[in-house]
């Protein structure tokens, strides 16, 4: 009788394993057992973990659930459901960077309700197999030759295998990459009309010690920076006035600041582009004054200006009195604003200013009318 019961248990055990593990792949079994074989669902599921699925006809699934679908008998996939509608579903492995190709909803066979780690289910399975198929007598104990020895040996072997399983088989391969300190460019700016160039950095795990080299480069022109200083994470560079003059004379507007910085760890070599926008001098007549402004970091040559002033008889529309005045040129210094008094002029005046800008001569004419 006891032998018969043992035989029934053995048959049921085999039937249980076959029907729910292999059978679940092609039969509509209520339960399905699957083992994970990759890192696609890491860290939710690790290779070797036993996944327990409940048939989708018993437990309905929704977006966010982990489901099992089978492409064929040999290929079943355990992934998370990202999107589902009446016809198709999209799944994704938690460790995968992108979604899987769409699948039909009919191919989803199980909804995952739980998992058992390899280190738990494998020893349990082995122990149950031994218990069912090869029962041992615990009464004999460690006094029997080689029982204690086998026990101790198995403990050490299991410790080795457990570590091997956890740290080698169940951990995804990682690239050995040292977390390097980083430096990136935060902003490039100019201040005080290009007289100061600001290069701002974003530093992580680094700090700037000093500037080893600072060059200003525009086509074939190369000039040393006249002055620079380090202000925390930013470098302030003052280009010499001659450099801008050279750019202006050569009709150049783009230049590069080449910096070699000494950091507490290593060196940074950077080239930073700047564009200078050359602007014509601003000439306006305001409050009986001719105002000339130079918005550039270089001097502008004013060749000269001429004023023709007259009074007009409103009845006859004849010019009664005319005054003409000419002045020689001058240099409008960088960012200089100069005012020329026009209070002495008659009721109507025309002002003509000639200047050189970017190697070309321009004439500006303005009118001043007095009430």
């Amino acid at each position: 009788m006891r032998e018969k019961t043992k035989r029934i248990i053995q048959i049921l055990y085999v039937f249980f394993i076959i029907s729910f593990s292999i059978g679940g792949r092609f039969l509509p079994t209520p339960l399905g057992f699957f083992t994970v074989s990759g890192f696609s669902m890491y860290p939710t599921l690790k290779p070797g973990d036993l996944v327990i699925g409940v048939g989708t006809y018993i437990s309905p699934y929704k977006e966010g659930d982990v489901v099992i679908y089978c492409r064929d008998i040999s290929t079943c996939i355990v992934h998370r459901l990202m999107l589902v509608n009446n016809t198709y579903a999209i799944t994704k492995g938690d460790y995968n960077p992108s979604n899987d190709p769409p699948i039909t909803v009919d191919s989803i066979r199980f909804k995952v309700v739980g998992s058992v780690p390899l280190l738990i289910w494998l020893p349990l399975a082995v122990a149950s197999l031994i218990f069912i198929f090869f029962p041992i007598n615990p009464g004999k104990g460690f006094k029997q030759p080689f029982v204690l020895e086998t026990f101790v040996f198995l403990i050490f072997l299991l410790v080795n295998l457990a570590y091997l399983t956890i740290y080698v088989l169940q951990t995804p391969p990682a690239l050995t990459r040292i977390p390097l300190p980083t430096v990136s460019l935060a902003t490039l700016a100019t201040e005080k009309g290009y007289s100061t160039i600001i290069i701002d950095y974003r530093l992580t795990g680094l700090s700037i010690r000093g500037v080893e080299e600072c060059l200003l480069i525009a086509q074939s022109l190369t000039t040393q920076c006249s002055r620079y200083n380090v202000d925390g994470n930013r470098i302030l560079v003052d280009p010499p006035a001659e450099f801008y003059k050279q750019l202006y004379d050569n009709n150049l507007s783009a230049f590069i600041v080449k910096l070699t910085l000494s950091l507490d760890q290593g060196t940074l070599v950077g080239k930073y582009p700047f564009v200078i926008e050359w602007k014509k001098p601003v000439l306006v007549i305001v409050n009986d004054k001719l105002v000339l402004s130079n918005p550039n970091p270089v001097p502008i040559e004013i060749i000269g200006y001429r004023i023709r002033s007259y009074t007009e008889n409103p009845r006859t529309l004849h010019v009664d009195e005319v005054i003409e005045y000419s002045s020689s040129g001058f240099t409008l210094q960088p960012f200089e604003t100069r005012e020329i008094d026009l209070a002495w002029t008659l009721s109507t005046s025309y002002v003509e200013v000639k200047y050189i800008f970017m190697n070309q001569t321009f004439t500006w004419v303005g009118r001043l009318g007095k009430q």
Binding site: L148, V152, D264
Partner: protein
């Protein structure tokens, strides 16, 4: 002619000394630095711990952490073996023979053969791979320009050169296992001959 007890005591001493020698060597190898790094990354790497610094920042590498975790089984194995070896020698000093020590030392010594294999796997698969990938020029290009952090030079200790070949350590572990096997077999032979003699007397 040496008595049976003297014979067993000699086995106990030899197996005990072998266990002490082997486990001490393994424990020393575990703590001694295998590789030194100089340059942009400074520090050392041993089997059971490592210290790598870039500037003042300590670097943690997952692969090395994993390698250190893999050295735990052999550490446990060697510590247990050392304890058994020390006990065996102490018992020998007091002229006492302990069959329980022999029964524990035999499986522990056999397990060290496996542990040593895992130990080598840790070295070749993880530590050596990580160390080789650490060397070279550290140059990073980004929006700020070219960041030249410098070169990392690897210097291996004489111990690491010795570790390249698994023969010495595996041979030692096998020798240790053979000696403890001889001891346990000697005990069981004696026990079986005693039981035969007892049966004959009855």
């Amino acid at each position: 002619m040496a008595s049976s007890k003297d014979n067993l005591l000699t086995y106990q001493l030899i197996a005990g000394c072998s266990a002490i020698l082997y486990s001490s060597i393994v424990l020393l190898v575990l703590i001694m630095p295998l590789y030194y790094l100089e340059g942009a990354v400074k520090g050392f790497i041993s089997f059971s711990f490592y210290q790598l610094k870039m500037g003042d920042t300590l670097i943690k590498l997952p692969e090395l952490e994993r390698a250190i975790s893999l050295s735990i089984p052999i550490t446990l194995n060697s510590l247990f073996l050392l304890l058994l070896g020390l006990n065996s020698v102490t018992y020998w000093i007091y002229r006492k023979h302990s069959p329980v020590l022999a029964r524990l030392m035999f499986p522990t010594s056999m397990a060290t053969v496996f542990s040593t294999t895992f130990f080598y796997m840790t070295h070749t698969v993880y530590i050596l791979k990580v160390v080789e990938s650490l060397t070279g020029e550290y140059v990073v290009t980004n929006s700020a320009g070219i960041l030249i952090l410098g070169e990392v030079i690897l210097k291996s200790s004489p111990l690491a050169d010795m570790m390249i070949s698994p023969t010495p350590f595996l041979s030692l572990s096998i020798l240790n296992a053979v000696l403890s096997t001889m001891w346990i077999l000697r005990i069981y032979t004696k026990l079986s001959s005693q039981s035969i003699r007892n049966r004959d007397q009855k």
